[in-house]
């Protein structure tokens, strides 16, 4: 009987079985950032332990960094203190830090892949739930809490139970104007925000085979929004080509050996899954969320549902969503007025996201009623986009072109919604208050749909706005 990638990686990284039945799992690569690591370094010190393998932890700063005024000290003394704390912790322990002056800073889930640190067949942990992003390379990647960051710093392992595996097939060709973001919003809409609890999601099928590496990252990024702590795609030539020549990728003879290992780690053809779910790419249309969970999603040609028409288990949250969003049941998605457009985040802040929008944006202008910002996912993305003229296209259209970070995805830096502003956002969460204002409202969508809303001032079908057919 064949094995899944998860089973193979799990076996190779199992140190031992703990007394409580969980696995002491070796974490090959540990990524840290300023928000969830300071307490962990403190706990390691308090316990009289040390960072066991400093060469297997990599740090960057993303959540709290300002995206406009980036000179230190930052205007927010708390944010400033957090960056300095991480700098100190890395210097003292020998952890590599992709710090602001390096030109390699960015959102941790964008920096790992672009540096070639994220590799197939590895285990990865980071104190951030969107660590599932790295699964796009065929890594098993977990979001963890701060006590587990401590565990990984001190022992390079953590205690965790082996998840079941649900294979999610998407087959067929996506229509023009339909993107990876629509695919994952569609999956969560159908499997629920808690449908993945206890599972790792293995994504596959011809749609995934055809996806670029960055599209796969968008889907894996939001596995956690469907309740699955881990999401992954089996590595293939697309993965290997993406990794070739990156700073931390294997070189020379080591490269060939690594590729051979990476090919072998993919799920076997006769692997057995705990569950299998199938979707057809042709049935997926541009999708937007209307509520306060990523599962509350509709196609662009649909209207906000009446909670009483939904399954009983979804009604309470739907009523709460309608109250928070101030959008009554029956409101069509098209035409909902927006105040802010946010393009960025670990879901959709990569070069290909910006390229796709820029391709359609030339010669157009952001609506005067909309504040539109683009936040590249990393300094690397920003630098290439500037050289390619993409930044200039955004600026000319009326977008603010910012420095790299998490920004308005979670509003921990100065980029926040104000009052009950409604934001068309390419990020991953539409929770109440997520974007920095307790009454702020978020509608999740693909980058091109964000751009369409920015131009028209209301939620719009990007295919019509940009003449895509």
């Amino acid at each position: 009987m064949g094995k899944t990638l998860l089973e193979k990686v799990w076996e190779e990284h199992t140190v031992r079985t703990l007394p409580d039945g969980r696995t002491q799992l070796l974490i090959g690569t540990h990524l840290i950032h300023e928000v969830t690591s300071p307490q962990a370094f403190g706990m390691v010190r308090d316990l009289g332990l040390k960072v066991l393998y400093p060469n297997r932890t990599f740090a960057t700063v993303d959540h709290i960094v300002p995206t406009d005024q980036r000179a230190e000290p930052f205007s927010d003394p708390l944010a400033d203190a957090m960056v300095k704390e991480l700098r100190k912790n890395c210097a003292e322990t020998g952890v590599t830090f992709f710090d602001l002056p390096t030109g390699n800073q960015g959102i941790v889930h964008i920096v790992g892949p672009e540096q070639g640190i994220t590799q197939p067949g590895t285990t990865i942990a980071c104190g951030d739930s969107h660590t599932s992003t790295h699964g796009a390379f065929g890594a098993i990647a977990f979001g963890i809490g701060t006590s587990q960051v401590r565990d990984v710093l001190a022992t390079q392992t953590m205690a965790i139970g082996k998840p079941k595996v649900r294979r999610i097939n998407v087959d067929g060709k996506l229509a023009p104007g339909v993107y990876a973001k629509d695919v994952i919003l569609h999956i969560i809409r159908h499997l629920g925000v808690n449908g993945g609890i206890g599972y790792a999601y293995e994504y596959g099928g011809s749609t995934f085979d055809a996806f670029t590496q960055e599209e796969r990252m968008t889907v894996c990024n939001m596995a956690i929004e469907g309740g699955a702590r881990v999401g992954y795609v089996n590595p293939d030539e697309t993965t290997f080509e993406y990794l070739r020549g990156r700073p931390y990728s294997p070189k020379g003879a080591e490269w060939d050996a690594a590729v051979a290992r990476w090919k072998a780690v993919a799920s076997d053809k006769d692997a057995v899954y705990d569950d299998v779910v199938n979707f057809k790419a042709e049935e997926i249309l541009p999708t937007v969320t209307w509520g306060i969970t990523p599962g509350q999603a509709i196609f662009i040609d649909e209207a906000i549902p009446n909670p009483d028409d939904l399954p009983e288990k979804d009604r309470a949250t739907a009523h709460e969503a309608i109250e928070h969003m101030k959008l009554p049941a029956g409101t069509p998605a098209v035409g909902i007025k927006i105040d802010v457009a946010f393009l960025g985040s670990c879901t959709n802040g990569r070069l290909s996201d910006l390229q796709e929008v820029a391709k359609h944006l030339r010669g157009r202008k952001v609506s005067p009623t909309v504040k539109a910002i683009v936040v590249p996912g990393s300094q690397g993305v920003a630098s290439i986009a500037e050289k390619m003229g993409i930044a200039e296209i955004f600026r000319e259209a009326g977008f603010e072109w910012r420095g790299a970070g998490c920004s308005m995805c979670l509003g921990m830096n100065p980029d926040k919604l104000v009052g009950d502003q409604l934001c068309a956002s390419s990020s991953n969460r539409n929770f109440k208050g997520r974007q920095g204002s307790p009454t702020g409202r978020t509608m999740l969508m693909s980058p091109l749909m964000v751009a369409a809303a920015a131009l028209t001032g209301e939620v719009s079908d990007a295919r019509k706005v940009f003449g895509i057919s």
Binding site: E12, H13, T14, V15, R16, L18, P19, D20, R22, Q24, L26, G28, V35, T36, P38, Q39, G42, L52, Y53, R56, A81, M82, Q119, G127, D128, S129, T131, G143, G145, S147, Q148, D151, A154, T155, Q156, T157, M158, A159, I160, V193, N194, I197, I224, G227, R229, A257, A258, R261, I292, T293, K313, H324, L410, M412, R429, F431, K432, G433, R434, P438
Partner: protein, 203 residues
């Protein structure tokens, strides 16, 4: 490391209704600008409290009838979203020592167990009954018994079963809920495993 053996939690309860209560709701991101967890307790559900006030209602944590509650009761998929340990840290520092819900998000569940907070699953009907009892008599004492997997109350006749997976239940009851000691015990095996894995041994 010797930790408390958690076999029973007794205290007053408070019901925070709703499904999919995410960790941003439990502790909004702006309160995570800190390098310690101290002081997070007062910010638990900060924005939810403000929103309820603005709507002319009272959040259960602002309702003086439930002051001093140590057992939090809620709906399904509690603690979804961000992996921030700040969420269970805030609840612990507020005073909560156990959580009863229809279901829990996975990362939140693990983070809570590591802090010694049992997160037990109970049926929607039993939760509704318990919430009604607390609403009627906020002073009733609620007891979670990990040995019996039962929730009971004093004074009135209420008993309901809960579920808690063995990998959480046993460490809580044995005082081994923080896994660091067990992980450190395995360090020799860790080094051996590192040496056997090509991408790790090459460095």
């Amino acid at each position: 490391m010797s930790l408390e053996k958690i076999t029973q939690v007794t205290g007053r309860g408070v019901f925070v209704p709703g499904d999919d209560i995410d960790t941003d709701r439990i502790i909004p991101a702006r309160f995570m600008k800190c390098v310690t967890f101290d002081g997070l307790g007062e910010f638990a559900f900060a924005d939810a409290k403000i929103a309820e006030k603005a709507a002319g209602r009272l959040h259960p944590l602002d309702d003086s009838r439930f002051n001093g509650a140590t057992i939090l009761i809620s709906g399904s998929n509690f603690g979804c979203g961000s992996s921030r340990e700040h969420a269970p840290q805030a609840l612990y520092r507020y005073g909560f020592r156990a959580i009863i819900a229809e279901s829990f998000a996975e990362i939140f569940f693990g983070n809570s167990t590591t802090l010694g907070i049992p997160c037990v699953k109970m049926s929607k009907e039993d939760i509704a009954d318990l919430a009604a009892l607390i609403e009627k008599t906020p002073s009733i004492q609620v007891t979670l018994d990990l040995t019996e997997s039962k929730v009971t109350t004093d004074d009135v006749d209420f008993a309901a079963e809960f579920t808690l997976p063995g990998h959480a239940r046993e460490p809580l009851m044995n005082g081994r809920w923080d896994s660091i000691a067990d992980l450190v015990d395995g360090l020799q095996d860790v080094r051996a495993r590192v040496a056997a894995i090509p991408y790790l041994s090459a460095k």
